[in-house]
């Protein structure tokens, strides 16, 4: 559906008409609800047996002014949460989130930012996956279904952010909520197991615990959410904006 909406429309009158019908539809839906009941409330209070819907779109805002150089609490928290252990081979060891230090040679301004799966609305990793293992959940979280991943690593080639890792070694000691195994590709899940329980990702919690508050997690579709208020109030940008991926992870003061 999103794809159709994004297609360039030959007739300039068509989008306006479509918008009108969409808005009219929403109006009717709101009228049909009982007084005092809001659609947003219904979407947030998801029962355990209800599927995720596009009513939510989970995202992350990274404040580059607050992110401290030399601090990698988000990285350690992620490794701890998912049982990620290195094998002394930095080039191939799994890495779901990493700290990147940047310097503007002209001005000498330095930045330190975490880079992770950007949870694109139009994810290149999903486009290239030959089996459908790489997919985007209805609530915007991009995941790998390791049951059907064949380990071809096309997605790793396609990702502009180098956010994905391949597991080369047989693993032991996995955590119950984070199954990981040899021969499959993996990347940040936005702590989907926590999000499904209404909790925040481990990296966000760690950043708050350190008192830096550089990471804010929330629902980009909820106008009352802290994340949405922050992104509305100040300029934010996505990495590689020219690719028009519409990422759910955004950076501010950058």
């Amino acid at each position: 559906m999103t794809r159709v909406m994004n297609c360039p429309d030959p007739s300039p009158a068509a989008p306006a008409r479509r918008t009108f019908f969409t808005q009219a539809g929403v109006g009717v839906a709101l009228l049909a609800l009982a007084p005092g009941v809001r659609l947003v409330d219904l979407a947030l209070a998801r029962a355990e047996d209800e599927p995720v819907t596009s009513a939510n779109r989970w995202g992350l805002l990274i404040d580059t002014d607050k992110c401290q150089s030399g601090c990698d609490e988000c990285v350690s928290a992620c490794n701890e949460e998912h049982g990620i252990v290195g094998h002394g081979r930095p080039e191939t060891d799994a890495q779901w989130i990493r700290k990147v230090d940047l310097k503007d040679d002209q001005t000498g301004h330095e930045l330190s930012i975490p880079v992770l799966c950007q949870h694109c609305e139009e994810p290149p990793c999903v486009d290239v996956c030959p089996t459908g293992a790489s997919f985007r959940r209805d609530d915007g979280i991009v995941l790998v279904d390791k049951h059907i991943c064949i380990g071809c690593r096309y997605c790793m080639m396609a990702c502009p952010f180098q956010a994905r890792s391949f597991i080369h070694e047989e693993l032991t000691g996995q955590r119950t909520h984070a199954p990981r195994g040899k021969g499959t590709v993996e990347s940040c899940t936005l702590c989907v197991h926590r999000v499904d329980k209404g909790e925040q990702p481990a990296c966000v919690e760690a950043c708050q615990r350190e008192g830096h508050d550089a990471l804010v997690f929330g629902d980009l579709n909820d106008a009352e959410d802290q994340l949405t208020k922050l992104t509305r109030a100040s300029a934010t940008r996505e990495l590689r904006p020219e690719l028009k991926l519409n990422t759910s992870v955004r950076y501010t003061r950058f």
Binding site: R46, E48, D49, E50, P51, V52, F135, R137, D138, D139, L143, D145, K146, H147, E170, L171, G173, Q174, R175, T176, H177, P179, R180, G181, K182, T184, V192, D196
Partner: protein, 135 residues
């Protein structure tokens, strides 16, 4: 000629198979394959009747796995983590034995049936957190 030979060979083979079956019935030729000794489980009752689970447990697990991964449905009734919660043996020292270790719940039947389990190359085979307090 060739056709005739093949047919004779086939008949002889059938007779041999019949003979073995007859033997196994009367003299218990396969009796030395011990039935699996399934370790006791925690919890009062399984989520489905035992006969249904023996035949269809994988249908339940595969169905649940797709719902969980793609739709975020995390009901506990047919979750693999729930199986492991009840079916991993707890030692006197308070340690859990992996369900895919020799003689343990999953492995004992799978050895008997000669079916390889692939779940535990990725999934934890011991409970690392309690998830099925109320199945």
């Amino acid at each position: 000629m060739l056709h005739g030979l093949t047919r004779t060979g086939g008949m002889i083979r059938s007779l041999v198979v019949l003979f073995i079956f007859a033997l196994s019935g009367s003299a218990g030729l396969f009796a030395d394959v011990a039935k699996p000794q399934i370790p006791a489980s925690r919890g009062e009752q399984c989520v489905e009747p035992v006969e249904i689970m023996r035949r269809n447990h994988f249908e339940f697990i595969v169905h649940q796995r797709d719902l969980t991964v793609h739709q975020g449905i995390r009901t506990k009734r047919h979750s693999l983590a729930g199986c492991i919660d009840c079916h991993s043996t707890e030692t006197a020292a308070g340690q859990y034995l992996p369900v895919n270790a020799e003689g343990e719940f999953c492995q004992t039947c799978h050895t008997y049936a000669a079916v390889k389990i692939d779940c535990f190359s990725c999934h934890a085979a011991v409970p690392t957190e309690k998830i099925s307090q109320s199945p």
